[in-house]
C-alpha cells in the first residue's frame, strides 16, 4: 500500500547569531545550514496494517507524514502510495487518504461544525446516502451530534479531535494518517478515538499510520512499530520485540518525607538493578525488572526511609527511543 525508498528531506535553515548585532548581520548575510530532517529511510506498509510511527520530538515523524500526504516535496527518494506518487499526483492521492493533525484542525474555524461536514461532502463528492450512513456511524462511536451545531472555535479539545477524525474518515479513505491524534485528550476521549480507529480498520481494512507519544495508543492499536530518530529509521518490527527489551523497565517515584535517600546502601545486587536521581523531595528510581521486582525495591526503601507517597509508571516512549538510540540498534 505504502512503499517508501531512500526518502530524504533536507531543510535549509538560516542561522542567526545572538542579539541585535547578530540579527543585523543575519539580515545582510545569514549563515546557511542544511538540516536533514529525514535521512534515507525505506519501508513498506501493507494494506490493513496499523503502524505506530514513533520517535522523539523533532525526530522527523511529522516531516515523513507530510511527505507521504503530498504536502512537502522530498529532496530525494521515492514514495508510492497505492501506486501513486503523492507529489506529482497530489490531487488523485488526496482522494484516497484521510489526515488528522492533532495540533491543528482541518475544520472551518468560524463556522458551525455541520457546515464543515457539508463542505467536505462536496469536495470529496460523497453521495447523500453514503453521507447519511457515515454521519450516523460517527455519531455512534464519536457522539458528535451533541455539538454539531456549535462553531468549531467553541468546541473543547476533545470534541474538536472527535470532529476532526470524523472529518478525516468522511470519504472512507484507504489510508488514514494520524499525527498525534490523542495529544492533550483525557482518558475517555482517548478511548473513543481508539475505538473509532479500530472500528474503521476492522470494517473497511483501512491502513493506518499513527504517530504518538502515548504508549497506550501503541499498545492498544499497533502490531508493528516504526521508530525514527534524527531522521533515520532505527527500528522496524512488532511491538513484542520492543517490549521484550524495554518494557521490563518501570519507574518508581518516591515522594520523600526526609533527607537521606542518596545515602541508602542498596547492596551490590540491588544497586545493579536500579538507577536513581533525586529532584528536590522526589526520588526517581528506574527498575530493571529482569533483575529485580518493583515490590522488592519499594519494600527495601520503605524499611530505610519515611515516604509520603509512591507512584509507579511504565517507561515512556521518549525514554525507549533514547535507550535504543544509545545502544545503536535492538
Amino acid at each position: 500500500m505504502i512503499k517508501v525508498k531512500n526518502l530524504t528531506k533536507e531543510f535549509v535553515k538560516y542561522e542567526k547569531e545572538k542579539g541585535l548585532k547578530g540579527m543585523l548581520k543575519a539580515f545582510f548575510n545569514a549563515k546557511k545550514v542544511i538540516k536533514k530532517a529525514v535521512d534515507d529511510i525505506s519501508f513498506d506498509i501493507k494494506e490493513g496494517e496499523i503502524i505506530g510511527y514513533i520517535g522523539a520530538n523533532g525526530a522527523g515523524k511529522s516531516t515523513t507524514i507530510k511527505m507521504l500526504t503530498g504536502i512537502l516535496h522530498p529532496t530525494s527518494g521515492q514514495i508510492l502510495i497505492d501506486g501513486l506518487d503523492p507529489v506529482t499526483n497530489r490531487i488523485a492521492n488526496a482522494k484516497n487518504i484521510g489526515v488528522v493533525f492533532g495540533q491543528r484542525t482541518v475544520l472551518w474555524w468560524d463556522l458551525p461544525l455541520q457546515e464543515s461536514f457539508s463542505i467536505l461532502k462536496e469536495i470529496y463528492e460523497i453521495s447523500d446516502a453514503d453521507f447519511e450512513e457515515r454521519m450516523e456511524f460517527f455519531n455512534d462511536i464519536l457522539e458528535i451530534d451533541s455539538f454539531i451545531k456549535s462553531p468549531v472555535r467553541t468546541l473543547s479539545l476533545g470534541q474538536r479531535m472527535r470532529a476532526d477524525i470524523a472529518a478525516s474518515l468522511l470519504h472512507n479513505p484507504k489510508i488514514l494518517y494520524l499525527d498525534e491524534p490523542t495529544i492533550g485528550l483525557d482518558v475517555m476521549a482517548k478511548e473513543k478515538m481508539r475505538d473509532a480507529i479500530r472500528t474503521m480498520n476492522q470494517k473497511f481494512n483501512t491502513t493506518v499510520v499513527l504517530t504518538t507519544h502515548d504508549l497506550d495508543d501503541i499498545e492498544e492499536l499497533c502490531e508493528r512499530i516504526l521508530m525514527i530518530d534524527e531522521g533515520k529509521i532505527i527500528f522496524d518490527g512488532p511491538l513484542e520485540d520492543i517490549k521484550k527489551s524495554f518494557g521490563n523497565y518501570k519507574t518508581i517515584r518516591f515522594h520523600l518525607k526526609e533527607k537521606g535517600f542518596e545515602d541508602i546502601d542498596f547492596g551490590q545486587e540491588l544497586a545493579s538493578a536500579i538507577d536513581f536521581q533525586i529532584n528536590d523531595d522526589i526520588a526517581i528510581v528506574k527498575v530493571d525488572r529482569n533483575k529485580t521486582t518493583v515490590t522488592e525495591v519499594i519494600k527495601f526503601v520503605l524499611d530505610k526511609i519515611t515516604i509520603s507517597d509512591i507512584d509507579i509508571s511504565d517507561i515512556d516512549i521518549e525514554e525507549v527511543v533514547k535507550k535504543i538510540y544509545q545502544k545503536g540498534e535492538l
Partner: protein
C-alpha cells in the same frame, strides 16, 4: 464545469457565512473607511469653493470631483480583498497543509475564497453604499444620474480588473514562501496600488508622464476607469484600450503566479504539528 463549481463553491460560501457571522466587524470597518470618504469629500469641496480657484480642474467640475470621490470609495469597498494576507497566514501558520491534503487545487480554492469575499461585501455593503451615494447626491445637488449601459460596461471592466487584482495579490502572497512574514511587502504594495488605482485622486490629475504610465498599469481598471465610465467622462478609444490593457495584465499575472507557485511549493516548510 458544474462539477468544478460544486467542488469549490463551498469555499466561497464559507467565506460569505464567515462575513455574516462577523457582520458587525464589516459594518464597523465600513464606518471607519466611510469617515475617510467624508474627509476627502469635504477637502475637495473646500478646494473648489476657495475664492480664486478655477471652476474646472483638468476637466473636473466640483460636482464631477465629488461624485468621483464617492464612486471611487464605493468601488474600493466592494473590491476589497485580503487574499495576500490569507496566503501569508496559511503559509506562516502551516494552514496550507489543510488544503494540500484535500483533492483540490490551492490556487482555485483561493479564487473561490476571493469570490466569496466579493459576494459577501456586495451583499452586506452595496445597499448602505448606494444610500450614502444618493443621499449625498441629492443633498449637495451633484446632478448625478445613472445610465444603465455605462454601469454594465463599468461592471464588466471591474470584473476583469478584479480577477487581475486577485492574480496580483496571489503573486505577492506567494512571496511568503520565501519571506515567511510579508506584512511589510503587502503594505508597500497596498499603498502603491492605492495611489495607482486613482482612489486618492483621479489619474487625470496626475502629471503627464505619470498619467501615461499609470494608464498602462493594471491598477487603473480597478477604480479610476470604471468610475470615469459611470461619470461618462471616458472617451470610447480609451475604453477599448482599457479592456485590452487589463486583459494583457491578467495573462501576465496568471503566468507569473503559475511559475512562482511551481518554484515555491518545493520549498514549503511546515514546522511542528
Amino acid at each position: 464545469m458544474s462539477r468544478y463549481f460544486r467542488t469549490y463553491f463551498p469555499f466561497a460560501k464559507s467565506k460569505i457565512l464567515e462575513l455574516f457571522q462577523y457582520r458587525m466587524n464589516v459594518v464597523l470597518w465600513f464606518i471607519a473607511e466611510g469617515l475617510f470618504m467624508f474627509v476627502y469629500f469635504f477637502l475637495w469641496k473646500a478646494i473648489y469653493e476657495t475664492p480664486g480657484n478655477p471652476v474646472m480642474i483638468k476637466g473636473f467640475t466640483m460636482e464631477d470631483m465629488l461624485i468621483y470621490i464617492l464612486l471611487a470609495h464605493i468601488i474600493g469597498f466592494l473590491t476589497f480583498d485580503n487574499i495576500s494576507y490569507q496566503i501569508g497566514f496559511d503559509i506562516k501558520e502551516g494552514k496550507i497543509a489543510n488544503y494540500l491534503i484535500k483533492p483540490i487545487s490551492y490556487r482555485v480554492t483561493l479564487l473561490f475564497i476571493s469570490l466569496g469575499t466579493f459576494l459577501g461585501y456586495l451583499m452586506v455593503l452595496l445597499i448602505p453604499n448606494l444610500i450614502v451615494l444618493f443621499t449625498m447626491n441629492k443633498f449637495y445637488n451633484l446632478g448625478f444620474t445613472v445610465k444603465l449601459s455605462d454601469i454594465a460596461i463599468a461592471f464588466a471592466l471591474l470584473i476583469l480588473a478584479k480577477v487581475t487584482q486577485f492574480m496580483f495579490k496571489v503573486f505577492i502572497g506567494l512571496f511568503s514562501f520565501k519571506l515567511t512574514e510579508i506584512h511589510g511587502l503587502i503594505w508597500l504594495m497596498d499603498s502603491l496600488t492605492h495611489f495607482l488605482t486613482g482612489s486618492l485622486i483621479p489619474i487625470a490629475l496626475f502629471p503627464d508622464l505619470l498619467k501615461q504610465i499609470t494608464i498602462y498599469l493594471p491598477f487603473a481598471g480597478l477604480i479610476y476607469t470604471p468610475a470615469m465610465i459611470v461619470l461618462g467622462k471616458l472617451p470610447v478609444e480609451a475604453l477599448y484600450s482599457a479592456f485590452i490593457i487589463q486583459f494583457i495584465w491578467l495573462i501576465i499575472f496568471t503566468i507569473a503566479v503559475e511559475l512562482l507557485w511551481n518554484r515555491m511549493i518545493k520549498r514549503l516548510v511546515i514546522l511542528g504539528g
